[in-house]
């Protein structure tokens, strides 16, 4: 004390600053901070004083005290102490976590490898499922413009009317929008998908079905696409219609079909019968602007007449056939561009009669009408939602594991708390360990997603289009994985951390471990977690069960045609330049040639296969002898088919006959109707010989066919008619062949037959009828397998969780059980005691889960076939499955409990 008395004022002030400032420092560092600063200031003062003393002695100067400048510097440096204190407050957490907690957490993970593996794998599964789903969302919705610079500045542009908002643009309108584009818009491009037939003249090989785009001349420039080989379209090639037949190949197509041969640039290929010069090859990665499609080539807009069929549309303002994209100026918002375009649209509507009533609407690419609108987003949303449920279950599981471990670490925590560690500090430590687990789980999950991301290929519909979706684990997916991992820490780590650090654990020091671990509150949390897991699993499993049942029903359904030994292949005469008369002859000859092939039982052509993509056509009609009720409109669905259609497709003839080769354009107009038409419109009179009026034409019914499914497998019977393709000609058809043996075996012979007639026509989209039917069941199968997979994961996780909790309970109650056994409880009584505990939790979880499932399954009522959303069998079977599985999970620990040696158990106390 005496030391302090003689201190100069300034030193006392400085030390006082430190004393007061210590409250700024974080509690854990307060004492050291104060000690350090006081000591350093004290020593500095003494050093300054001594130096001054020496100098004074040496120079004999009068000034004996520390100089003013030195005092100011010392004051400034002391003020820096406060900054240091502040800094510590902000950083102490990371400082301490970085060093101590991490090292400690790492050691804990290594010390309990079983626990660590279980937790990491569980989290990995949950995170992996989510990362996979997100990579799909990323691939389908976010990365639509692969390889395009500034992809986020592109939005889709559609025309609108009062009732529709998904209409394509006409070319003159596109040009006007482009020429008069407002400040908010950098540029516009227009394009349309065009399937074509390509012949490589040099190779003289089979003609190929290719998918290209007809694009505006500025397409590549606006998208910022440079060709590594050759060039893109010049300005001149965008000016004169039909004058410059040039084509740019996609990198993928060039590699696939030309083996990456650079000499392809300058070569001539035939597209739909017209010679085109290859002027360039696109960069790798750029696949065009059709969502999900991997395009083969691009042709300038001015050449659309050569590769498309509907005649010259460049000057027709009323012809809406182009998709368009707007590239916004940097910094311009979509709303601004929309407002600007609205003004323009009003101008055009006022100037041109064809534009009257038309508006425009901009869409973000992911919900543009051309990419399936928000429908794909909806499916993806459901999938992501399901994955989130799986992650929640996984988190509940790991939380349970952590709680169980916290019980066994009670003493350690209690000692730390008693020795003065703050609760925050202990929570921090426990959370650090959770973070380590989550990080490991995130790594495992992301690694898993590398493998599972490609499973999306299972879910791509078997459509006759070059659909390609390549999910990659890129930066955005990794960011998502990291965010998810951090979020999951809160879900599974927070509750155990708070519980494990509660002050009640200090009592652990006073009591036996067994008594404390049975702490009712912790046990309750663990039970709640298990109940939640069971409930969530029930929801997933019931949903999966409903879809499985629905899939079963769908597979058992009679589509109305035979699926055995059928071969389908598409033929399109339009690109080859056939007119209607030549086309009729061609199909007649083709069918007679195919029918002569060995192994062919029957053959026909059809405009479209039932239950395919693209639905059905329908037409308003009148039926002679049937008076419609007021306001009744007779709508008949129809298909155009060739001779022997019913025979080839195995559709029963109820009355009359099938089409024959004599049902030609020169003969009287005929039609075959289905039973529904006969029943509904010819009640009490024969349908055969009846007449249907379609537009100006009257057709005579020559046959009645059995009802079938036409647009989708779930539909109820609808009135349907078959029109002879020779009388209602269509050039794009499907060739259907019924064979005696393996249908694919005759493909070469069919190809040969076609080639012998015209070498420019490719046979494409070759498949069996069974393959084709997979389309009909596509949605059912996809949802069922997805939900089924996730449901199984959920079941396994919930079972493991329940097992862990029951096993924990048995350990905790060992003493009590020992006592019971000592007092004469039978083995069976002990087992049922434990089983009751498990069944109690399961029962509650099942009850909650069933209620949840009841609410959730309503949402996809429209997707289910022949199954009620409250299907008793599914709900019952799921419940039974869960009860059986959980019983098994409970029985194992129960048996262990029953074999407890009472003496050992009591001594254990």
């Amino acid at each position: 004390m005496s030391r302090h008395a003689g201190r100069p004022f300034l030193l006392r002030l400085l030390l006082g600053i430190i004393d007061a400032g210590r409250w700024l420092a974080p509690p854990s560092r307060r004492r050291d901070w104060r000690r350090q600063w006081r000591a350093d200031i004290w020593h500095e003062w003494r050093w300054l004083a001594r130096r001054r003393q020496i100098r004074t002695q040496r120079s004999q100067s009068a000034q004996r005290d520390i100089g003013l400048g030195e005092r100011a510097a010392l004051l400034r440096r002391t003020a820096g102490a406060l900054r240091h204190a502040f800094w510590l407050r902000v950083h102490v957490r990371s400082l301490e976590m970085m060093t101590h907690d991490l090292r400690y957490g790492w050691r804990m993970m290594l010390r309990k490898p079983g626990f660590t593996a279980a937790a990491v794998l569980t989290l990995g599964l949950g995170i992996g499922a989510n990362v996979t789903m997100f990579s799909w969302v990323d691939a389908t919705l976010r990365r639509q413009l692969n390889g395009v610079a500034d992809a986020d500045r592109f939005v889709a542009l559609n025309n609108t009317t009062r009732t529709r908002d998904d209409i394509s643009l006409s070319y003159p309108d596109f040009v006007d929008y482009r020429n008069r584009r407002p400040d908010s818009i950098d540029d516009l491009i227009a394009y349309t998908l065009a399937p074509m037939n390509l012949r490589d003249n040099a190779a003289g090989a089979e003609p190929l079905r290719v998918f290209g785009q007809v694009v505006s001349g500025n397409y590549f420039d606006v998208l910022g696409i440079r060709t590594p080989l050759g060039r893109t379209f010049s300005a001149g090639e965008d000016r004169t219609p039909n004058a410059h037949p040039v084509v740019v190949f996609s990198h993928n197509f060039w590699q696939r079909r030309f083996g990456g041969d650079p000499s392809v640039v300058g070569r001539t290929v035939t597209l739909n019968g017209r010679a085109f010069t290859v002027i360039g090859v696109g960069p790798p990665g750029f696949r065009g602007t059709e969502p999900f499609l991997n395009l083969d080539l691009w042709v300038p807009m001015m050449m659309h007449g050569a590769v498309m069929t509907a005649g010259d549309r460049l000057a027709v303002r009323g012809s809406h056939w182009l998709e368009a994209m707007v590239k916004l100026k940097p910094g311009a918002t979509m709303a601004r561009a929309q407002a600007d375009l609205d003004v323009l649209a009003r101008d055009l509507a006022a100037a041109y009669p064809d534009d009257k009533g038309f508006g425009v609407k901009l869409y973000e690419l992911w919900r543009a009408p051309s990419s399936g609108g928000a429908r794909v987003a909806g499916v993806m949303g459901v999938q992501l939602g399901v994955a989130v449920i799986v992650l929640l279950i996984a988190c509940a599981n790991v939380a349970n594991l952590l709680l169980a471990r916290a019980a066994s670490r009670q003493r350690e925590t209690a000692v730390r708390l008693t020795l003065g560690a703050s609760r925050t500090r202990v929570v921090q430590q426990l959370l650090t360990e959770s973070t380590l687990l989550a990080l490991a789980g995130g790594v495992v999950g992301t690694a898993l997603a590398y493998w599972t991301a490609d499973l999306i290929q299972w879910f791509i519909p078997p459509a006759p289009l070059p659909i390609q979706i390549n999910p990659t684990i890129g930066p955005s997916v990794l960011t998502f994985a990291i965010a998810l991992t951090s979020l999951s820490v809160l879900f599974f780590g927070l509750v155990p951390a708070l519980q494990g650090s509660s002050s009640s654990v200090v009592t652990a020091l006073k009591e036996s471990a067994a008594a404390v671990t049975a702490s009712p509150r912790r046990a309750r949390v663990r039970k709640i977690l298990v109940v939640a897991q069971v409930a969530l699993s029930i929801v997933l499993l019931v949903s999966a069960g409903l879809f499985l049942r629905s899939l079963q029903n769908a597979q058992a359904l009679d589509p109305g045609f035979s699926t055995r030994n059928g071969l389908l292949a598409s033929v399109d005469l339009l690109p080859a330049g056939y007119d209607t008369p030549r086309g009729r002859v061609f199909f007649r000859d083709l069918l007679s040639r195919v029918r002569e092939l060995p192994g062919v039982e029957a053959a026909t052509v059809t405009q479209r296969m039932p239950l395919g993509f693209g639905g059905t056509s329908d037409v308003g009609a009148n039926i002679d002898g049937y008076t419609p009720a007021p306001n009744e409109e007779i709508i008949l669905y129809f298909n155009r088919v060739g001779s022997d259609y019913l025979k080839t497709m195995g559709i029963g003839v109820v009355a009359g006959r099938d089409f024959t080769d004599r049902d030609t354009a020169d003969w009287s107009d005929v039609v075959i109707v289905n039973e529904t038409v006969a029943r509904r419109y010819f009640a009490g009179r024969p349908a055969i010989g009846g007449h249907i009026r379609i537009g100006q034409r009257s057709v005579e019914i020559v046959g009645v066919a059995r009802d079938g499914k036409y647009a989708n497998i779930m539909e109820s019977p609808r009135p349907f008619m078959y029109l002879p393709v020779q009388q209602w000609f269509r050039a794009d058809t499907v060739l259907a062949v019924k064979t005696t043996g393996n249908p694919t075996a005759i493909v070469p012979a069919v190809q040969q037959a076609l080639r012998s007639m015209d070498t420019n026509i490719p046979l494409f989209d070759i498949r069996t009828i069974e393959d084709h039917l997979a389309i009909a069941l596509f949605v059912q199968r996809m949802v069922a397998s997805l939900l089924g997979g996730f449901g199984l994961i959920a079941l396994v996780l919930a079972t493991v969780g329940l097992y862990g909790v029951i096993a924990g309970i048995v350990t905790q109650r060992t003493a009590e059980i020992g006592m019971r056994v000592a007092l004469g409880a039978s083995r069976g009584a002990i087992i049922s005691l434990i089983l009751e505990q498990g069944l109690g939790m399961t029962g509650l979880g099942v009850a909650i889960g069933l209620a949840g499932a009841f609410a959730v399954t309503r949402l996809f009522k429209s997707l289910l076939l022949g199954v009620s959303t409250t299907d008793l069998v599914t709900f019952g079977a799921t419940t039974a499955l869960l009860v059986v599985v959980t019983l098994a999970a409970t029985y194992l620990p129960a048996r262990r409990a029953a074999s407890v040696d009472p003496l050992a158990a009591l001594r254990y106390e």
Binding site: A39, D40, H43, R77, G80, A81, H84, L95, M98, T99
Partner: protein, 108 residues
Amino acid sequence: MAKSAALAFGQVSILHAIADGSRFGFDIMDATGFTSGTVYPALDKLESLGYVTSKWEDPRRARRDKRPPRRYFDLTRAGAEALAAALARYKNLKPVSLAAWRIRTSEG
């Protein structure tokens, strides 16, 4: 841990000062010219990174000298290595002529 990450110039200066014999906060401030609000946090940070260790003087000896015990710093092996690596990097910066900017690099 990211020990291979390049150290900031300030951190290098502080390591250098410690290696040069400065052991206490105020000495390091004098040696580097940094303010206390920079040096003390940096020391804590370097310690958490494992480049520096700190010890308290033996309190008995301090009491004998009638002064408070001080916290002093020393380089760890990792710190010495990091300092060597950083100095080697700075050595790559050859003197350049800045005459065009009318800046004289020499003393004066």
